[in-house]
Amino acid sequence: MNFASKIFLVLVLALVLGACATDTRDVPPAPEPEPQPTQPSDPVEVDRVNPTDFADSRNLDNPDSTLSQREIYFEFDRSDVRPEYLPIVRAHAAYLRANPSARMLLEGHADERGSREYNLGLGERRGNSVLDLMRAEGASAGQIEVVSYGEERPVCRQSSESCWERNRRVEIVYTAR
């Protein structure tokens, strides 16, 4: 790492920490932290992760962050993204925007109903719907690849609506963070 990029990193860190500090002011005043017994050093850093900072790769594994949500579900024989899933799409689009070297696979899936090759097409169309939204949110198409598995990779195997609705999905898979 050269001198310039060190400076850049310091600046980025300062910005991120500054953003954190700003955010905490919006939150209702928290009671003064009580003196804690000695803590291991790592959690101090985890505490500083802002779950709404969608540029931060640590949020990909943070259950409090929308970035940790990777499944988008669909209606039968439909490929339009329902409004409740837009925050997930926006969060990941923001991550891709902020991390140009990140790469994403959108795996499209269908439930078992109907024919297999048509469902392969349906899975791809679902993946493309998510891709189009990500691009509209400023992600680069070069960072995203769509692959359809049709009905070949179900997560649930009973023939019931409760199972089918879990299978009609796009899974967001990061191949590079």
């Binding site: 024989d77 078992e112 109907g114 297999r116 090759e117 048509y118 392969l120 097409g121 791809e124 169309r125």
Partner: protein, 440 residues
């Protein structure tokens, strides 16, 4: 002696020997059970064939293979061997009165005539009508080790054709996809080829990633299918005898739904390299690619008309999947199905041109057959999740996939809907059957 053996090998290479060379035996064999029988099946006796003390004896007695074939067709009711009073092997030995008492209408029989090398020879076979006493045919067919079952199926086909007027389809194979360990790390997809009676299952390819959509070449030697071995869908053509495998399409997006043209020179596919699923045709000899459809809808599951001039396909361009047709040159797109909210995955009857398809709505997906001349659509299967119809080469039965609980099984139904059978595997999930052309 050497040249005898060599010509003998040449003679039977296309039967089953070469298939054994390239592939391991699959573990479990399909068991075929008849679900709905037919009233008025023809009573026939298939007498044990006389092999005398020949050194060459078939692995399974010829008459057993023939009788099981005829029974599975639903059109025949073979007499149990234990009920036979005598065992003629040629028409002059048939005592008509005895068979009349047993209420048998036809007697099939035959014998082995060994050749000079003692290994290969001929099976002579005959069919006698009991009421008239007439010999309907007397024929002979070359046979040898490894080919007895195929010859028995061909004799059953001859009997079927003589008595029903339509060609038989017993001397054929079925390809299907078997999944074991579903949902576990040990999940395996296998493409299997078995005889039409489920015998001799051979694994053609095996992978932990999905295998889909097997389709036969018209010569019964090439199988096209979709492999996810690279993590993406690819269309592959594999020679089932040599094992030679060629990747035909591996472009961006979906590479799926292969279908050989009737003459075997072209392969129709659904490819989304243009950004969306479209029907494409590849000339196999030159690699030339032609795009037949251009629409934002899903266009997939091409199937050739018998004359090769049109391609039927599934499209949701009107909102829901329906069957359309397009001319070979990409012109004249017409909608074919209008009844029902979901019609897809058409299979063309190679004999009379009927169309079988997946027909359904939200709750049920069944196999239906459309006669385009009378515009009559007939639902043939009773299931909720029936798919992947495939016609027998004689057009009399439709093989399809259905579900029993979480397990996929295969079933076959006659085109009139009167007769149905289940093809059950002891373990594993079976799907996507494809019935081969007749083996010559």
């Amino acid at each position: 002696m050497y040249s005898n053996v060599k010509s003998f090998l040449n003679l039977f290479t296309t039967a089953s020997l070469a298939l054994l060379l390239v592939s391991g035996a699959a573990r479990a064999q399909l068991q075929i059970e008849i679900v709905d029988g037919v009233e008025g099946a023809l009573p026939i006796a298939v007498v044990p064939f006389d092999f005398g003390n020949a050194e060459m004896q078939p692995e399974t007695p010829i008459h057993e293979v023939i009788a099981a074939d005829l029974q599975r067709s639903g059109l025949f009711d073979p007499l149990a061997v234990t009920d036979m009073i005598d065992r003629p092997s040629r028409p002059p030995e048939v005592k008509l009165g005895t068979w009349r008492l047993l209420k048998v209408d036809y007697v099939a029989m035959g014998r082995w005539i060994p050749g000079s090398d003692g290994l290969s020879g001929e099976i002579e076979y005959h069919l006698v009508a009991v009421h008239s006493g007439r010999t309907l045919f007397s024929r002979a067919i070359a046979a040898g080790p490894g080919a007895f079952r195929l010859r028995a199926h061909q004799i059953a086909d001859a009997i079927y054709e003589e008595l029903t007027g339509a060609p038989g389809a017993f001397a054929s194979r079925i390809a299907y996809v078997q999944v074991t360990g579903a949902g576990t790390d040990a999940e395996q997809f296998e493409l299997i080829v078995a005889d039409s009676d489920g015998h001799n299952p051979q694994t053609i390819v095996r992978h932990s990633e999905p295998i889909m959509s097997p389709a036969w070449g018209p010569e019964g030697r090439r199988l096209a299918y979709v492999s996810f071995a690279t993590g993406r869908s690819n269309v592959v053509i594999q020679d089932i005898y040599t094992g030679q495998r060629d990747v035909i399409a591996d472009g961006r997006g979906i590479n799926g739904a292969p279908a050989f043209s009737p003459n075997g020179d072209l392969l129709a596919m659904s490819l989304s390299r243009s950004g969306n699923s479209e029907i494409w045709v590849r000339t196999l000899a030159t690699g030339r690619m032609e795009q037949l459809t251009e629409h934002y809808a899903i266009d997939t599951e091409p199937a050739w008309s018998r004359d090769g001039r049109n391609i039927f396909f599934t499209s949701d361009r009107a909102g829901r999947p329906q069957i359309y047709s397009v001319r070979r040159d990409g012109t004249n797109i017409e909608r074919v199905t209008f009844e029902g909210e979901y019609n897809s995955r058409v299979s063309v009857d190679p004999y009379s041109g009927l169309l079988a398809m997946v027909h359904g709505g939200q709750a049920n997906f069944r196999i239906a057959v459309l006669d385009r001349e009378s515009e009559r659509l007939r639902v043939l299967s009773p299931g909720r999740m029936d798919e992947s119809p495939s016609f027998a080469p004689n057009g009399r039965m439709v093989l399809y996939a259905t579900r029993e609980g979480e397990k996929g099984v295969l079933a076959a139904v006659s085109v009139d809907g009167n007769f149905r059978q289940r093809l059950v595997l002891s373990d594993g999930d079976v799907r996507e059957p494809a019935w081969s052309p007749l083996i010559q």
